[in-house]
């Protein structure tokens, strides 16, 4: 795979780690990676143990599956169990626990739940099954919202009447603000989200340096991208700068994707407020289907229970999503809550901090370094 090899070059990585170690000196730094995709890369490639111990990467709220509150999962299961409904969803959402099990359980009990790779596939299911009503469970940040928007436009153009979207799209800036307002955390800077920024651009993050005086670097998803971005953050700090920088310029343009933003504006509108798992209600932080597309809005077509369900007492996903707790510091991590029997959302999605740590990172630092250097285990 030529196009990934150059971003996984060990020699370049070593050089970057040396430069990072020099710049960091003896100071302690705490950088939050906003995006779950970054968390996944960090653990999958063992970056946490390659970086010097005085640089701590704190995992942020940017995992779309993780932030969906329990009540919305319950609504999704209620929808899936309605007669003549085919409920479609991304695979990850199937295992997210609501208060009565997950969509996977609903499927085993007889509900017609199918996983799709794209909302357009869900629309296809609707066209192929005219005697059923097909609901698509839309989740995700601005990254995936445009594909839902395209689907809404397509459904309207086709005159499909048996398709609707249960919209749970959220926006990236409000949770970053919420975290910056939280007194629990002292951050030195942010690794800005990569995929979201392909849509929204880099301008929305200007408040991070301008209001909070912190540097932010929009980062790519290959291991070298992460290291290069950490290096850029440290350089800003050394130079006394706080700016929005774009490390992922091969993909992200400063103005974002204007066409996608326009489409979002036409098909969706901001909700006054939305509940985030662990973070509570955040105003103007989520999207609903626009009035002009109300025929395709599952919330308009069905009278869902819409009951707010408190997170399980034992679950500390909220603290993990805010970066206040490391996954392993949660009371139920790895014992009552595992990828097989998740209690909280962070243990479900591969982008969730808990799942990433459990699946990839669950190694003692010294052991990891020993193995990484090939000592005592030279194949």
């Amino acid at each position: 795979m030529k196009f990934v090899d150059e971003f996984r070059d060990p020699a370049a990585a070593r050089a970057l780690v040396r430069a990072i170690t020099d710049l960091a000196g003896d100071n302690e730094y705490k950088f939050m990676e906003v995006c779950g995709g970054h968390t996944h890369t960090i653990y999958r490639h063992g970056l946490e143990h390659i970086l010097p111990p005085n640089i701590e990467l704190v995992h942020g709220p940017g995992c779309p599956v993780c932030v969906i509150p329990m009540g919305r999962v319950d609504d999704a299961m209620w929808l899936a169990e309605q007669p003549d409904v085919i409920f479609t969803t991304f695979g990850d959402m199937m295992r997210v626990p609501g208060s009565r099990g997950s969509l996977l359980d609903a499927k085993a009990r007889g509900a017609d739940v199918r996983f799709v790779y794209s909302p357009l596939d869900a629309l296809k299911v609707a066209v192929e099954n005219p005697d059923k009503h097909v609901v698509f469970f839309a989740v995700g940040f601005e990254t995936t919202a445009p594909s839902t928007a395209v689907t809404l436009v397509r459904a309207k153009a086709l005159g499909v009447t048996n398709f609707s979207v249960f919209c749970n799209h959220v926006t990236i800036v409000p949770p970053i603000k919420a975290i910056l307002e939280s007194p629990d955390l002292r951050l030195s800077g942010f690794l800005g989200p990569g995929h979201v920024s392909t849509v929204v651009g880099t301008a929305p993050y200007r408040f991070v340096p301008e209001v909070y005086g912190l540097p932010i670097v929009v980062a790519g998803f290959e291991p070298l991208d992460i290291l290069a971005s950490v290096h850029m953050l440290l350089r800003q700090i050394r130079d006394g700068r706080a700016e929005v920088e774009n490390q992922y310029s091969r993909v992200v343009r400063d103005e974002g994707n204007v066409a996608a933003l326009k489409l979002l504006g036409e098909t969706m509108e901001l909700r006054p407020h939305f509940e985030w798992r662990g973070l509570g209600f955040i105003s103007q932080s989520a999207l609903k289907v626009a009035t002009a597309f109300a025929d395709f809005d599952a919330e308009e077509r069905f009278s869902m229970p819409g009951i707010r369900v408190a997170d399980p007492k034992a679950c500390q996903c909220g603290e993990v999503l805010k970066g206040v707790l490391k996954p392993w510091e949660c009371k139920v991590f790895g014992t009552a809550c595992t990828p097989e029997t998740p209690i909280g959302t962070c243990m479900v999605s591969p982008e969730g901090a808990c799942a990433a740590y459990y699946n990839f990172g669950r190694l003692h630092r010294e052991t990891a370094i020993l193995v990484g250097q090939g000592q005592g285990a030279d194949a």
């Binding site: 291991p223 790895g334 029997t341 990839f360 669950r362 003692h364 194949a379």
Partner: protein
């Protein structure tokens, strides 16, 4: 065990890791009320179902070994391996093979990695009303050819037809018997620190070939299933490395799952080197695009062998002398610590865990 809340952070993390290991070693509990797809995915849920329903009901010494095949001793002292497998792959044909080859290879390979020389197979068919007779003939002929190539005879069988909608086309079950040569003993209990892990060829092609053949993804790539009989390669390894400790074919759950079974049953640590994992560039590209780790993708013609370090070179050379083993390579080794864990050294010099697969994204792959 209790975590000392007053200890420094790094110390608390270590204590937590030990506590998690303790939990991981416990027998999985079966808490579900109905069977879900997870129970068929080969991970912990599957283990829980097998343990609490079937082992519980059928309990005996041979079954409790939970190997790929049961090893049975005849009154004469000769030993047999006996194994069975069902095939529900969808679609029934895919690039590089079909349900016919899988049905033969699956059982032949379970016998071969048990140390046996496969001899006889049974074949049972569950057919949905409306299935084409021509297609059925073709499948039978393909099974005959596959059996011939694998050196086994299909000596008994059964046919059942169910109403339209009660099955999806065709399901096949095969069972097989093989003879274990005198003096040959394999088992995870024989595995020692310092032993090397060999994989017989490039991984992940079968699962990706079937997945792409379903056509649900707007993705096309020239990927062929690796389905193949492994009896010749298994014999070659054992001839070249007479102290071969353990073998397992890397089917459902892929290489990652097999290595976890090895770590848990041997009580040792498995260290893999990502740079050494043989994955075809096209397969790796398709996996990357779909966000699937090739280490968990099913194979139908690949196995893992554990051999002593000083016999490794001979074993790899023996495998490579066959076309099907041309890409065979050492991928890692066994260590005393971290016990029970599979760790992967990334090309970066980083390290990560490779755990059992949870929530198989690719059901009905075999």
């Amino acid at each position: 065990m209790k975590i000392d809340e007053t200890a420094p952070r790094a110390e608390r993390e270590s204590q937590m890791l030990l506590k998690i290991e303790d939990f991981r070693q416990r027998r999985p509990r079966l808490i579900d009320e109905v069977v879900t797809m997870a129970h068929g995915a080969g991970g912990k849920s599957s283990a829980a179902l097998t343990d609490h329903v079937f082992v519980e009901a059928f309990r005996n010494r041979e079954l409790e070994q939970l190997g790929d095949g049961a090893v049975l001793t005849l009154p004469s002292g000769e030993r047999l391996a006996f194994s069975t497998d069902s095939f529900v792959v969808q679609p029934i044909e895919f690039p590089g093979g079909s349900i016919a080859e899988l049905a033969v290879h699956g059982t032949v390979n379970d016998l071969a990695v048990s140390g046996a020389r496969p001899q006889w197979l049974s074949a049972a068919f569950v057919i949905e009303e409306g299935f084409s007779i021509d297609k059925l003939k073709e499948i039978a002929n393909r099974m005959r050819d596959a059996a011939k190539a694998a050196g086994v005879t299909i000596v008994t069988g059964d046919t059942k037809v169910v109403a339209r909608g009660a099955a999806d086309g065709l399901y096949i079950n095969t069972a097989g018997v093989g003879l274990i040569p005198e003096g040959r003993v394999l088992g995870a209990g024989l595995v020692q620190p310092g032993d090397k892990i060999i994989v017989s060829g490039q991984i992940a092609a079968h699962g990706m070939a079937v997945m792409l053949a379903r056509g649900d993804l707007a993705l096309e790539a020239d990927i062929k299933s690796d389905t193949a009989p492994l009896h010749v390669l298994c014999e070659a390894v054992q001839a070249a490395a007479p102290d071969t400790r353990w073998m397992r074919d890397a089917t459902r759950g892929g290489l990652g799952t097999v290595c976890n079974e090895l770590a848990q049953t041997s009580g040792l640590g498995v260290i893999l080197d990502e740079r050494l994992l043989p994955v075809d560039a096209t397969v790796l590209g398709a996996c990357d695009m779909l966000g699937i780790d090739p280490i968990y993708v099913a194979n139908e013609g690949r196995f893992v062998a554990v051999v002593p370090a000083d016999q490794t070179e001979a074993a790899v050379a023996a495998l490579r002398s066959h076309d099907e083993g041309a890409e065979a390579t050492v991928i890692g080794e066994l260590v005393a610590e971290p016990a029970g864990i599979v760790a992967l050294r990334t090309p970066f010099g980083g390290t990560r865990i490779v755990d059992m697969l949870v929530g198989d994204p690719l059901p009905r792959i075999c």
